[in-house]
Amino acid sequence: MIPFDYMQNILYFPVRHHSPGCSYHLMKVMDEYKPDCILVEGPQTANKLIPVLTDSGTVPPVAFYYFYKDTAKYISEDADDYKCYYPFLRSSPEYNALYYAKKNGIDCEFIDLPYGDILINTAEEKGLRKKKEINSYSDEHYFSESKYFSALCEKTGIRSFEEFWEKYFEIDAVHISTEEFIRRMYAYCFITRENTPPDEMLEDGCLVRESFMAENILKASCNHDRVLVVTGGFHSYGLYELLEGKCEPKKYKLHKFSEKVQDVYAMCYSFEAADALSGYASGMQNPGFYDKIWSGIKENINDVQSLKNVYETAVLNTLLQCSKACIKEKMLITMSDISSAVTMYQGLAAIREKHSPGLYELYDCVRSCFIKGEKNLSSDLPLRILSKTATGSEIGKLCDSAEKVPIIQNFEELSKKYKLKTESVMEQKIELDIFGKPMHRQISKLFYQMGFINSGFAKRLKGADLLNNSDRSRIREQWAYKRSAETDAALIDASVYGGTIEEACTVLSIRRVKEVQKCSEVSKLYVECFLMGIDTMAGFAEKADDIIVSDGDFFSVGQGIYYFNMLHSLHELYNTENRNADYFLRKCFYKAVSMLPNMINVTDDKANECIKICRQLYSLVTGKILSDEYETLKEAFISMIQKPDPEPSVYGAVLGLLYGIDNEFKNDISMVMREYLSGSKEMQKQGSIFLRGLFSTARDIVLVGNEFIKITDMLIKGFDMDEFMEILPELRLAFSYFSPYETDSIAENVAELYNSDVNSLRRSIKISDDIYAAGVVLEKEILEEMKK
């Protein structure tokens, strides 16, 4: 165990990011130890930002945004760009340590390796090189993902690490001495470290970082009498062992990079982004709630009794805040519910042997007392409101001397690179040859990205509209653009999602994919991402997979097939990497095929759409992409036609497609036609609808031999004039699928049937130019009348 003695030259203070409990005891330790140097875990490159962070004009939450461009290929041949965030909240011990140092004129600095060197010393897919939505420097997976903690939770009957932490390190923090708090921290961190394989620590870059930090601590201890080392609890033990000579430091090489290659900016952050629940894993969850705890602690730091009530007060305040928000949402929350909730959290704290109720008792009491009925997506609004309340909505502020927001800087850099006239107050127009010039394709991507964050910066005037399937033959795009105050506001809004426009769009699109429910929506989003040049990652794919599996809407899946098929051809056209489109196209195909049999009974208003999807499925299996599914589709079509009460046009279309698959189905088609013929008048009328469907997919059936012409002729002959006029529109539609040449050929066959010739048939319908002209005028007038 590390000795904790105020008389020592070096005092290690283990912390967890954003922990008010740690901050509370750190403040006490700083007052007691009176350090003349404070060293904080963090890449050294951010030392220049300490004055910005501790400036009185800066209000957390703020974050440091680190980036490194691997142009020299130290990390990999891919020469990728890397970035990560280091968020600071008011309750962050690191922030409080730096602020204390500034206030008391104490030397302070960050002691970790520069960001680029951390990456260079990290194995692929480990530590800060993990491919995540956003990487956080203060990733604390050692702390919360240790195998040890799950056993600990099971043993103590606590459901999660976060609840375990709150019980023993946050709620207890105001009830125990600093020595006891530190003892617990050391004990937990020691066991966590013991349970972490050394290889993992090496691959994560942890051991190299600790060697570098130890060296800096040693240097500082030579020049100062009392050095306080504030690092993540996991590292405290490693640093102690290194400085005590109990283990060998790892060798490393520091690289010198220009500011273009490696740098750090301060930026505004939000509680929402800082919430570990948002997937950034940068510290504790529900920062808004713990900010209340920290405010309570600071207010009552000298009043032991009030300090002990900090949790109960914060829980009650949050409960009341949540109740108000629920009432605002028109939910019936009564005083009885609130008082029952209070009884519940107090009782739960007692049964769980906690000094005070905490966040988990708060969630439990809202769940029990505010949700009336089964807990499901439609009834759990109170829990969602509580989660929002506990997360908080505050956005930080940077002092005036801080550098520009990275995303705006990124926008300006890109505008300069692409020679966009963003300084002009006039709207600019630009024509982009997206297939001919790579830079034009990049500009197009930027415009789409700017549209995605609702900046109002650029508007497409001409060009292919892939989302609405129009003008797809256009190979150029014409855009109008103008930078306005709106543009900057939208960029700043998006800055919490990323330091670059592309990164913000990536995060936003991943968020959006989490919200969408239908296959048509998710596939459309994929097309949007393609237009923006955004790489759709694993998390995206998983959700898309879920949506496709659970989407029960055939037409939405059909839309998905359309978009994914388009993406497939676009990837070929643009010669880009096709990551998921083919996979999802196949998935949608299976889904649509599984639903096909029931589609034979669609209502007539959906029939055309259904036929369109059937044709699309057919074209997929007859093309190269899904040629192996030929039989699958055939089986599905066969099951379709075997169902009773088919919709005639879909029935005809599917039989036509089956005829395309196997000529044997010609007999089935003849049989069905004869059935319609021999049926009642109503059935005969349906026969004409059947023909429309059939001709939409297999018009050649009429052109081979004259059997179908005979059947069609019999069908038409069966109607009297009134009935014929009634079905005429259907027949016209049915024959509209034929080209003029094919119509001529049919006419010849009909003439032959009546031992006549085409000209004699034509003669009977020939009209004079006057009548034609009168017809045109009449049609025009009718159209105008109808418009009225």
Binding site: K155, R159, S340, M344, D364, C369
Partner: protein, 371 residues
């Protein structure tokens, strides 16, 4: 001679555990509770250390409800307060078992129960009369036939109301005044006609969400309850444990001498879990059947297969029987569920049969029984 029951009540089944816990219980408890809230928690969620009974015996307290410890804690605290407890959830998620455990641990009795049906009347909930005595002596206490609710109020014990939403809404509403004022008015008894609930009285209701909408509860009644949604067990390890525990107990009770096969239990737990969640452990997405894939159903499928093997003297579990029983259990509500089950076999079971072999291979071979 010892009387044997098919299913003895919880307080009889766990008599030793309850007595041992009571003997060691020094924590604060609400008035009229047999055990303190902490001891009730221990009774339901188990204890890693045995408890020493009054006669010095070491009594193991087994975990009886799996999957959500926090829910049990919330239930206990609700019952210590002034609101009733309403357990809602899919069929087969152990709502009734939990309400029995809570009643037995809190009041020492789990049989004070109203069974809700479409034919439940207000008399059955409040009180009725012995008409012979009523005619002979008029409306006197002696002629009153108390309902479980009446008993609960007069003795200060828990009243269980099973399947409350099967009862017509206007009948359910007769609970409102009892739950608000904790008093039952019996006008026929005139001056003696007020029954004040003793401390310790409360109501545990259960409702099946598949019956939702049949008789929706009024919002006035809902406000008198705290709701807890009991969800299916999410952890395969726990589900396997439940299957093994339940099947073992039933087998002992029915004198079936075959041991429970751990591997079969695991296979069944995994199958149920994957069909319920719609995803396999290899990340393959599958379509979820409409029917309820509860752990209780899994237990039933296992037990049927075991009985089959025992009585037809096969002496080992047959995958063919298991598959047939599984098919019967899954394909109840709609024919589409059979296709979904087939889909599961053709993707997940097939892959696992190729990768793992053994039992999974036998399971896959039995797919011909999927009809």
């Amino acid at each position: 001679m010892e009387q044997k029951f098919i299913k003895p009540p919880v307080e009889v089944r766990y008599k030793e555990e309850l007595e041992a816990l009571a003997a060691n219980d020094s924590a604060r408890k609400p008035e009229n509770w047999v055990l303190s809230p902490k001891a009730v928690r221990t009774f339901i969620l188990g204890s890693s250390k045995p408890v020493i009974s009054a006669d010095g015996k070491k009594i193991e307290i087994r975990k009886k409800f799996f999957g959500n410890d926090a829910l049990v804690e919330r239930c206990i605290i609700t019952l210590a307060g002034s609101r009733g407890l309403m357990l809602v959830g899919e069929p087969g998620t152990a709502k009734t078992m939990l309400s029995e455990l809570l009643s037995a641990a809190i009041s020492g009795v789990s049989t004070n129960t109203v069974q809700g049906t479409a034919g439940t009347t207000e008399d059955m909930i409040k009180y009725s009369w012995n008409y012979a005595l009523l005619l002979a002596k008029g409306p006197v206490c002696e002629a009153l036939v108390p309902s479980p609710l009446y008993v609960g109020m007069s003795k200060g014990i828990i009243t269980r109301f099973e399947e409350i939403t099967r009862t017509p809404a206007e009948i359910q509403d007769s609970l409102i005044s009892v739950m608000s004022d904790k008093v039952l008015n019996i006008p026929e008894l005139e001056s003696e006609g007020l029954l004040f609930a003793k401390p310790g009285f409360n109501i545990i209701g259960t409702a099946n969400i598949r019956d939702k909408g049949v008789n929706e509860m009024s919002s006035a009644l809902k406000r008198r309850f705290n709701f807890e949604t009991v969800e299916p067990v999410k952890d395969i390890r726990l589900e396997k444990q439940i299957i093994m525990n339940e099947v073992s107990e039933s087998a002992v009770a029915d004198n079936i001498g075959m041991p429970v096969d751990t591997d079969v239990a695991e296979l069944l737990a995994m199958t149920y879990h994957e069909l319920r969640e719609g995803i396999s452990d290899m990340g393959i997405k599958i379509e979820k059947p409409v029917t309820v894939m509860s752990t209780a159903e899994a237990v039933s499928v296992y037990y049927q297969t075991l009985s089959n093997a025992w009585y037809y003297e096969q002496n080992e579990m047959s995958m063919a029987d298991l598959t047939q029983n599984l098919t019967n259990a899954v394909c109840k509500d709609t024919k589409d569920d059979l296709d979904k089950l087939k889909g599961y076999f053709n993707t997940v079971v097939k892959q696992r049969a190729e990768k793992v072999g053994g039992l999974w291979k036998e399971f896959y071979m039995a797919r011909k029984y999927l009809k």
